[in-house]
Amino acid sequence: MSDDGYIRDQEPADGPEPMVSDAEDAALDALIARFGTDYNRPPDIVPREEMWHEIREKGELRRAIRRRPIWGVLVAAGLLLGVGIGIGVEAHSRIGPHASPLAQRESQRAPQVAVAVPRSPDARADNRNVPETRSAQRAPTQPRVTANRGTYASVDDGSSSNADARSQAYTLATVRHFTAVEALLTSYQTEPHDARGDAEMASWARALLSQTRLLLDSPAGADPARQKLLQDLELVLVQMTQLSPANTPIDREMIDGSVRHSDVITRLRTAVPAGGATHLQ
């Protein structure tokens, strides 16, 4: 048997069976008979009511969490669309319809950035350069007249109230996202690992991963602390998207290790204000 705690019918060879004398065996029997019953002796009174109370509470919580994936996916899809449109509008508004062909090409690329899924370090570097390129193109002489005046005006006029509103919208989206990821991680830690559960977790993680990447590419990722948290979440979520019944305990250990190492749950809880996204609305 290996020392991993599992018992298997096909045991590895553990060397030749030791020869045992009757006297040795009898001595061990006597020892077990004398002291065995006190080994890890449970208390006489089983804390039935306390445990039952916990079972009811935890069971309810898990059922609530299990219902969340659909909610999470819907919210993720909504935010994906919302933030994607936001980025698109922002890029377009900075460039304007009469911008140079180069700027327009950049503008057309904006939605791709918003839904960028594979992220190599080079890609990240490219993305980091995007705001600089955009700001360089924001020449003061560029015309800003557009058909959708109201929308662009709200982005373009540079008033602090509009900037605040946009910043608040990203903060709200980020807080909602953090809440959803925390729900996923809590669920991952408490739910039993079976085939169905793994499939749900992986699907849930995929939805949140897209959103994480989207937020990383948005102004929400400009804040260094938030960016670091989003990057750590990205790593954990990438691992979770690989969840499948074929996973070994080592795969799960790697996820557990990432969660522990980056302390993401604590950081998520710190990042979400009391009252969550509702508080910010």
Partner: protein
């Protein structure tokens, strides 16, 4: 030979309870819980060695069981099924966080201890417990279930999902390791 009427009635009522509990009837879940919790907690405590861990294992066992009652096919007794869940959770928990450290009595330290009868008894007991704690989790599970909790090899095999011969083999090896661990002490105390 026909089964006693009380057994048949009991089995039927447990089937009904399982069906109702699986459908979310909390009264039925409580009834099943009351029938089995003592034994599950007891085994959990024997394996984990402390109340907090035993409670966690017991609670987790029933939460999982209630969530999966629909999958229970009555191919084994409900108690056996619950124990298999409990042991699986306990082994996982022990693997993650070794609780063996709490009785850190070096086996070779016995020779330094005073030798009046009371002390010798205490030492002997502590050495035995430390030796059991030091067993690999699989050996220890079978040892505790068989030698201390009085499960039969058939029950252990069903609970752990292994052959009876495997259970017997595990016990044999567990005992061999215990003898090996305790031989210095036995020699010194003679």
């Amino acid at each position: 030979m026909t089964a006693p009427v009380t057994d048949i009635t009991s089995a039927r009522s447990e089937r009904e309870l399982v069906a109702r509990a699986g459908a979310g009837d909390s009264a039925a879940q409580r009834d099943l819980y009351d029938r089995h919790v003592d034994r599950v907690y007891r085994v959990a405590f024997r394996l984990a060695g402390d109340d907090d861990a035993a409670r966690d294992i017991t609670q987790e066992t029933f939460i999982r069981a209630f969530g999966r009652l629909g999958e229970f096919r009555h191919e084994s007794a409900l108690g056996t099924w619950l124990h298999s869940i409990a042991v699986s959770i306990a082994l996982g928990a022990l693997r993650k966080q070794s609780r063996m450290d709490k009785r850190h009595v070096p086996l070779d330290a016995a020779a330094d201890v005073g030798r009046d009868d009371v002390n010798a008894d205490v030492d002997l007991r502590e050495q035995l417990y430390a030796a059991i704690d030091a067993l690999p989790a699989g050996y220890r599970t079978v040892f505790v279930m068989y030698e201390i909790e009085g499960f039969s090899h058939q029950e252990i095999a069903r609970t752990l999902g292994v052959a009876e011969t495997t259970s017997k083999g595990q016990l044999f090896r567990a005992r061999a390791k215990l003898r090996e661990s305790l031989k210095h002490f036995a020699r010194d105390s003679q």
